[in-house]
């Protein structure tokens, strides 16, 4: 027996009255784990029972420990009839299974009932004695740590990053199994909750096994999702990045270690800067022993375009798909097809979509069509074809190419063959240590429309039996087809992503994520990421100067392990091009990642390149879209802002294949429009790069919705974006002209206003970029709006405006007019507010510890009779804007503040009903410092920006050496903060903001004079979607929180209608998350995410149901101010008591 689980039921409080006669309750508790159940005595006639039970001991193997949740049921004893259930608590004991996390779970848990919500609380103590039996680790993966955080967790150092891990588990959905509905809703809900808990446990264990196989000990960026496929079943799938992590000893955290490593990191490359100039011209082939050669990335893509074998991204095990890819490269003749053939390409798309692509493969997939838009498309969409005729064809060409490619791939080999693990050089991380990310190619994404079929699970029996009967099937032994189908689907998509990355001259994909949208039996699978070149320098010599070594020492391992095992060969040329790769290191960190990884002469798409505005040595694109967070070292000018593209497309109601076909046909247009909108809005804000891009396409019965969110910034390395120019189509109408010019003025004004608002004032560059192939620093670009525009108009506008270059919007019909209008309807946030969807707001660094995490949900009926795309678009747009407005209003007391990690999720629960859920965190920042920064002279702003970044990113983004680096920084910072708060902010202002928990204010307010507080025992648990807490230091990760709840009501009106119902439910979910974290000994949840919120109502029956799935990392944090008060002497025990003392609001 490898483990002994011990549970003690201490007491209950505030139980509901179960016996109307006495107004009391005779409560007892059932404790269940696996097949074993224990019961406490009945504690008669009390709403606050004191059971104080013995220790219930479960002797179980660790596999069970990982899969099973501990189930605690509180019941009311009834002598004459069946005992009534009061509610349940599920406790995931996983955090107790690894040594560094929690050792005991102890505290008050809300007793939850799926019909009544929270009904009192129960005090439970749980412990696990694990017998370390290493041989047993075959089936279980105890000890593998899981993190939702998409960066290396703060108090760890990554020794090796192994790479991508994924797994999925399929089962019948209990909700759909009992169609006869013999069971009560409660039983059905509980069965579902339990099943999902089991499935996630199993999934986690299996992923853990894979990690152990790779010799890792942790999964970072773990993202687990549920697909409620309805009748076809339930899929739980997860992706993550396997790592070997080393806990940083606490001692180092308290030592005044070396100076900011990141600073040095920054300086080094700068110092070396002047040298490479000698080699800065000529597309010379890389030479050995040369310290700096020209654009190594070029050689990659050149080689890859000529022969795929050079870039052996895939391991030997998957040989087949490689060969045909030759066709996809830009140089190949397929791409030379010309522009006016949009229709043709569409037709082609259609053709390919209808054709069953895996005829050889027995699968339920009738249709398979995937649409992929990569950065190339974006660039193409921005019309940077440098005057080539094929502008408007660009995106569709790309599409076509992807299509061909994937088709060919399919033919090349059965999907089964290449769905091996670890062939995908993907990273779910979004933040990396400085210098790790060499180049970023752009966003790569792939979508595919699938028809869901019933997941047959013949061996699934004993539904009503004991708990163990839910034990999931191991499909390897039973029905190998089924999960394989889902596996194969994802494998195809990943394969596509990989090849897109390759086409961009990149060998890896970072910031990778996957998602689905399901409506009836149609499912859209989506994957996206950012193609990137990762730094190989560390592969060659791991020894780097001083602190650098320490911080980056893990990287060699990363690559060496990879190649040694033959899993991922990232750097096929590494043997002969050490010097060549060395140059990557030399590119200034502030801009290096912007430099193009692909071959300039052989670009995968028509793009417009200039020399980097920062280093002047390498080429950069004019815009950059990525899914990752802004790199630590990036030099940013001004502030960032949230940019959203919103889109609705009507679709005919259809069944099965016809439905899938029409969706497939709509997808490319939607993506194109979404990207156009993003590009326009980016330009409207005078910015040139997007980070954290997330595009969601949601499918409903009669429409598709697209919502893209990203954070726009102005990267100093990229050229200043041109403006937007409007061109009218009917030039003879004077009033029309006037209208156009009026609109043009409005747009120009908006751009100017935005530049001011976001403080975008790049240093004026003398036009001395000699040797640039592009003589004009700004390029003219052109966007053609729709297929109705024929190519002859191109000549009309092209080049005719001379130096005045801009992004041209043609207004040829009312649609276009509407679109321009909608561009202008985006209201900037009220003063004092900023927003972004990344971890940190570029350009703001002086956060105070006041945070407020929130979830807002809205369901609205879009439009009315005869909806058109335009009205829908407008309504959708208004819905989002109003939602944002109301958030700003709600949080007005926190001003100045920034909404970070704004995460919108769109669902279409019914015809014309749109559900938007937003989770974000508002963080107050210190205005005075911000003002100072504003006043900094313009010429200094660039430098300022970089140092700002440096500081601001200290705690959020420090990947592996946070305690080392932030510690030396923090004292100074604290002093600064303290000083500013004393001088700058009136005490009254702080005092009035009572609900905010500023540590300073808290310090002052901790007088505990309020008599009411004396008997409170509820500790404060902070929640944030970010991976860090401003002004605080995470000292310990206690384990992953992954919870799934169902709530149902049959008295909707009585509970305050849909809003009352959901409001209570969300509050309950928060409460349960907080209780679990507190019981683990934690005081915060970081990287919190609400992955699912499925709401269904039936007002006629007065019923509603909601499913919510949340996850995050439970942590212990210590305020930086408190850290200082601690003795400098290293004491591992010190932080915890301090933190708990500080945060228990007694």
């Amino acid at each position: 027996m490898p483990g002994k689980l011990k549970v003690k039921i201490v007491a209950g409080r505030h139980l509901p009255v179960m016996d109307r006669a006495s107004d009391l309750t005779d409560a007892f508790v059932e404790v269940k784990f696996g097949n074993t159940t224990f019961k406490t005595d009945v504690y008669p006639k009390s709403l606050n029972p004191q059971w104080n039970s013995e220790w219930f001991k479960f002797e179980v193997d660790d596999e069970e420990l990982q899969d099973e949740p501990l189930q605690i049921t509180v019941l009311d004893h009834d002598t004459y009839s069946a005992n009534d259930a009061i509610g349940k608590v599920y406790i995931d004991i996983d955090p107790l299974l690894y040594s560094e996390a929690a050792t005991v779970i102890s505290g008050w848990f809300p007793i939850y009932d799926t019909i009544h919500g929270i009904r009192g609380e129960i005090n439970v103590v749980v412990k696990v004695d694990l017998f370390n039996d290493l041989n047993r680790f075959r089936q279980s993966s105890c000890g593998v740590k899981f993190f939702c955080t998409t960066s290396i967790p703060k108090c760890y150092r990554a020794v090796i990053i192994h790479g991508f891990v994924e797994e999925l588990v399929v089962n019948e959905d209990p909700e759909y199994q009992w169609i006869d509905r013999i069971r009560t809703p409660r039983a059905s809900n509980e069965a579902r909750q339990r099943l999902i808990s089991l499935m996630s446990g199993e999934l986690q264990r299996k992923i853990g096994l894979k990690v152990l196989e790779m010799r890792g000990n942790a999964v970072v960026g773990y993202l687990q999702c549920f697909d409620l496929e309805g009748e076809s079943g339930l899929v739980v799938r997860a992706i993550g990045t396997a790592c070997t992590l080393d806990k940083l000893s606490n001692t180092s955290a308290f030592l005044p270690a070396c100076n900011s490593p990141s600073k040095e990191m920054k300086e080094i490359p700068f110092n070396e800067d002047p040298n490479p100039n000698t080699y800065s011209s000529g597309p010379s082939t890389p030479l050995k022993n040369q310290t700096y050669s020209f654009s190594p990335s070029k050689s990659y893509s050149r080689q890859s375009s000529s022969s795929d074998t050079d870039l052996s991204l895939t391991p030997k095990t998957a040989p087949s798909p490689q060969r045909p890819r030759i066709f996809l490269f830009p140089s190949s003749p397929t791409l030379s097809c010309d522009s006016p053939h949009l229709k043709k390409s569409c037709l082609l798309l259609l053709g390919s979509s209808i054709k069953p692509l895996h005829s050889s493969h027995v699968s339920p997939v009738v249709l398979r069509k995937s649409v992929s838009f990569t950065e190339e498309l974006l660039l193409a969409a921005s019309g940077m074809g440098s005057g080539s005729a094929g502008k408007e064809g660009g995106p569709f060409k790309t599409l076509l190419r992807q299509q061909t490619q994937s088709a060919l791939e399919q033919r090349g080999g059965s999907p089964h063959r290449f769905c091996r693990r670890r062939e995908f050089p993907f990273f779910t991380l979004t933040t990396f240590p400085p210098g790790f990310l060499v180049h970023v190619g752009g966003v790569v994404s792939a979508r595919s429309v699938k028809l869901l079929d019933r997941i047959h699970n013949p061996a699934f029996v004993g539904i009503m039996g004991n708990t163990r009967s839910y034990k999931l099937l191991d499909w390897n032994s039973f029905n190998s087809d089924e999960p394989e189908t889902r596996d194969a689907w994802w494998a195809e998509i990943r394969q596509e992503i990989k090849s897109h990355a390759k086409a961009l001259g990149c060998h890896a994909v970072v910031g990778y994520s996957e998602s689905t949208s399901i409506c009836e039996e149609v499912c859209i699978l989506s994957a996206s990421g950012t193609a990137a070149v990762l730094n190989p320098r560390f592969l060659q010599d791991g020894t780097m100067e001083g602190c650098l070594e320490q911080r980056l020492s893990w990287q060699p391992g990363f690559f060496s392990i990879g190649s040694e095992k033959g899993e991922v060969d990232f750097f096929p040329q590494s043997q002969d091009s050490s010097s060549l790769l060395g140059i990557e290191e030399a590119s200034p960190p502030g801009c290096g990642f912007c430099h193009i990884p692909y071959d300039e002469l052989n670009m995968p798409f028509p793009a417009h390149l200039t020399y980097c505005y920062n280093c002047r040595k390498q080429k950069v694109p004019d815009v950059l879209f990525t899914t990752i967070d802004l790199p630590v070292e990036a030099i940013v000018i001004g502030k960032g802002c949230l940019i959203q593209a919103r889109l609705c497309r009507l679709k005919k109601k259809a069944q099965a294949e016809a439905n899938a076909t029409s969706i497939s046909n709509l997808l490319p247009f939607m993506e194109y429009e979404v990207h156009t909108q993003l590009m326009n809005k980016l330009k409207l804000r005078g910015m040139n790069a997007l980070f954290g891009l997330r595009i969601q396409i949601t499918v409903g019965e009669n429409m598709l919705m697209g919502l893209a969110s990203a954070t726009g910034v102005y990267l100093a390395a990229l050229p200043t974006p041109g403006g937007i120019q409007i061109a009218g189509k009917t030039p003879n109408d004077a009033t029309y002209d006037q209208h156009i010019s009026h609109m043009q003025k409005k747009i120009n004004d908006t751009i100017a206003k935005n530049k001011e608002l976001y403080e975008i004032n790049p240093p004026e560059l003398p036009e001395e970029i000699i040797g640039s192939p592009i003589p004009e620093p700004r390029q003219r670009s052109r966007l053609l709006r729709s297929q109705s525009e024929s190519s002859d108009e191109v000549t009309e506008l092209d080049l005719s405006h001379g130096k005045k270059d801009a992004f041209v919007l043609e207004i040829d019909d009312t649609d276009a007019m509407e679109d321009v209008h909608s561009l202008l309807t985006d209201v900037p946030p009220p003063s004092g507010f900023y927003s972004c969807n990344t971890e940190i707001m570029p350009g703001i660094n002086n956060w105070t510890p006041e945070i407020q995490m929130f979830t807002a949900v809205r369901v609205s009926r879009l439009s009315t009779i005869n909806p058109t795309n335009q009205t829908l678009n407008k309504n959708f747009n208004d819905l989002c804007e109003n939602l944002l407005k109301s958030l700003y209003f709600k949080l007005r007391s926190m001003v100045p503040c920034c909404l970070c990690h704004v995460n919108f999720t769109v669902a279409l629960p019914e015809d014309e009903l749109v559900q938007i859920a937003v989770t974000a965190v508002a963080i107050t920042y210190d205005k005075n410092q911000a003002l100072q920064a504003n006043k900094a002279p313009t010429e200094k702003s660039q430098q300022r920006a970089s140092t700002d970044n440096e500081e601001q990113l200290q705690f959020p983004l420090e990947l592996c050496s946070d305690p080392l680096s932030s510690q030396p920084f923090s004292p100074a910072k604290e002093v600064l903060e303290g000083a500013s708060s004393h001088t700058g902010i009136p005490a009254a202002q702080r005092a009035t903001s009572l609900e905010k928990a500023s540590p300073l204010a808290e310090g002052y307010l901790r007088h505990r004079s309020v008599p009411s507080c004396t008997n409170s025992t509820v500790s404060v648990v902070k929640m944030t979607p970010l991976s860090f807490l401003p002004g605080a230091k995470i000292t310990k990760y206690l384990g992953i929180i992954n919870m799934f709840f169902i709530r149902e009501t049959t008295s909707l009106r009585e509970e305050g209608g849909v809003s009352g119902f959901l409001h209570a439910f969300i509050a309950e979910v928060f409460a349960m998350v907080r209780a679990h974290v507190a019981a683990l000994g934690g005081n915060a949840v970081v990287s919190y995410i609400m992955k699912q919120c499925v709401f269904m109502e039936n007002p006629n029956k007065n019923q509603a149901q909601c499913l919510i799935n949340v996850s995050g990392d439970a942590v212990i944090f210590v305020r930086e101010s408190e850290l200082e008060m601690l003795p400098v002497q290293p004491s591992t025990a010190a932080p915890q008591p301090t933190s708990s003392a500080g945060d228990v609001t007694t």
């Binding site: 505030h14 008050w108 809300p110 929270i118 609380e121 009220p830 407020q852 929130f854 979830t855 807002a856 949900v857 809205r858 369901v859 609205s860 009926r861 879009l862 439009s863 309504n875 208004d878 819905l879 109003n882 407005k885 109301s886 958030l887 700003y888 209003f889 709600k890 007005r892 009903l913 559900q915 009572l994 609900e995 905010k996 928990a997 307010l1005 309020v1010 008599p1011 009411s1012 507080c1013 008997n1015 409170s1016 509820v1018 404060v1020 648990v1021 902070k1022 305050g1056 849909v1058 809003s1059 009352g1060 959901l1062 409001h1063 969300i1066 509050a1067 309950e1068 928060f1070 409460a1071 907080r1074 209780a1075 709401f1095 609001t1145």
Partner: protein
């Protein structure tokens, strides 16, 4: 485009003080929105009416969910559903249990029964307090009354512990059912009565003796809201002061000699001494009978305050008189009794 469902939930529960006030005052969402609009929030924040409505509804829902917890303030501290900083929790409770004095004055001494609740419409009209607010406050009184009823120990402390507030006066009045509604008592405000209640509890109740109540004593089992029976019984002994003519004369001469020349109304005092003394002593003697207890304040006003007022005593005169009147006799019981009476009279002696 209508929002069917619209919620905002913060990890830290947002409490808008203004909206809380509107909610407590019993305004509907629409009324609250209208009032907020008049408050000029739109101009300040540059937002829309729809946003304001949505915000108000959110807050109202939160308050409705909180209300259940507010009914038992200690539960609010222990509950896990809403994460509210302690100072905010205290504010919620204080505001929830805060009462309009006008209303409290109306309800003082009334039985907190259904009948009284039905009269709230009139009370609301008289006091200008919203009917919903009236009902909430009435329920608050009742809740506090009911919760304290069964508890032992000092009333004020119990209430403080349970409701974190000073509700003692109301409970004390509701308990003893003093008459407060008579016309001649109308000049007294709630604050006056509250102060009287406080001094009576302070000086007369069991806990006030400063010694732990003897568990064997019969009154230890009584709730603190009632005055201790033994004390009231003892007060009967004081009657001898007015019944025995010698004692009365002795008392009078002691007081008069002490006050001669010091008090402007000496002649009136001398003339009225016996009547005043009789009134002061008899008020205490009557406290044993529940029916007579009702008249406590009426008697004080009718037999002490009004005569003094008609003789144009200044408050200073009254104070001097009472001080010497009390000091003329040395008896613990007498001093304990007169301490509260003095405090009450001084408080009540105004126009």
């Amino acid at each position: 485009m209508s929002s069917d469902l619209d919620v905002f939930v913060g990890n830290t529960t947002l409490i808008d003080e203004e909206v809380y006030r509107l909610w407590l005052d019993g305004h509907s969402v629409a009324e609250a929105v209208a009032r907020r609009l008049r408050g000029g929030v739109l101009e300040r924040e540059g937002t829309s009416v729809a946003v304001l409505q949505s915000d108000t509804r959110d807050h109202y829902r939160t308050f409705q969910m909180l209300e259940r917890l507010l009914h038992a303030p200690p539960r609010l501290l222990q509950q896990l559903l809403f994460q509210i900083p302690p100072e905010r929790q205290a504010l919620l409770v204080q505001r929830y249990y805060a009462f309009d004095e006008a209303l409290a004055r109306e309800l003082l001494g009334k039985k907190l029964s259904k009948g009284t609740k039905k009269e709230l419409d009139e009370v609301s009209a008289r006091t200008g307090v919203g009917i919903r607010s009236c009902r909430r406050q009435f329920d608050n009184f009742k809740r506090v009354f009911k919760a304290v009823e069964e508890l032992r120990g000092p009333l004020a402390e119990n209430i403080q512990q349970l409701f974190l507030l000073d509700y003692a006066a109301i409970v004390f009045f509701a308990n003893s059912r003093f008459e407060t509604g008579k016309r001649r008592l109308q000049f007294l405000s709630f604050a006056d009565f509250a102060a009287c209640a406080q001094s009576m509890m302070g000086h007369w109740s069991q806990g006030a003796l400063g010694e732990p109540p003897d568990p064997r004593a019969p009154e230890a089992a009584e709730p603190d809201g009632d005055l201790p029976k033994s004390f009231l019984q003892d007060l009967k002994e004081l009657k001898v002061l007015v019944a025995d003519k010698d004692l009365l004369d002795q008392h009078k001469s002691l007081v008069c000699s002490a006050l001669r020349g010091k008090i402007s109304v000496y002649n009136e005092l001398e003339a009225n001494f016996k009547a005043l003394s009789r009134a002061l002593v008899n008020v205490g003697g009557k406290l044993t009978h529940a029916r007579d207890v009702r008249d406590f304040f009426v008697d004080l006003v009718e037999k002490v305050i009004e005569p003094c007022r008609s003789d144009k005593w200044s408050p200073g005169d009254l104070r001097l008189f009472l001080t010497h009147y009390t000091a003329a006799r040395h008896q613990a019981l007498w001093e304990r009794y007169m301490a509260a009476i003095t405090a009450c009279l001084l408080r009540m002696y105004h126009d």
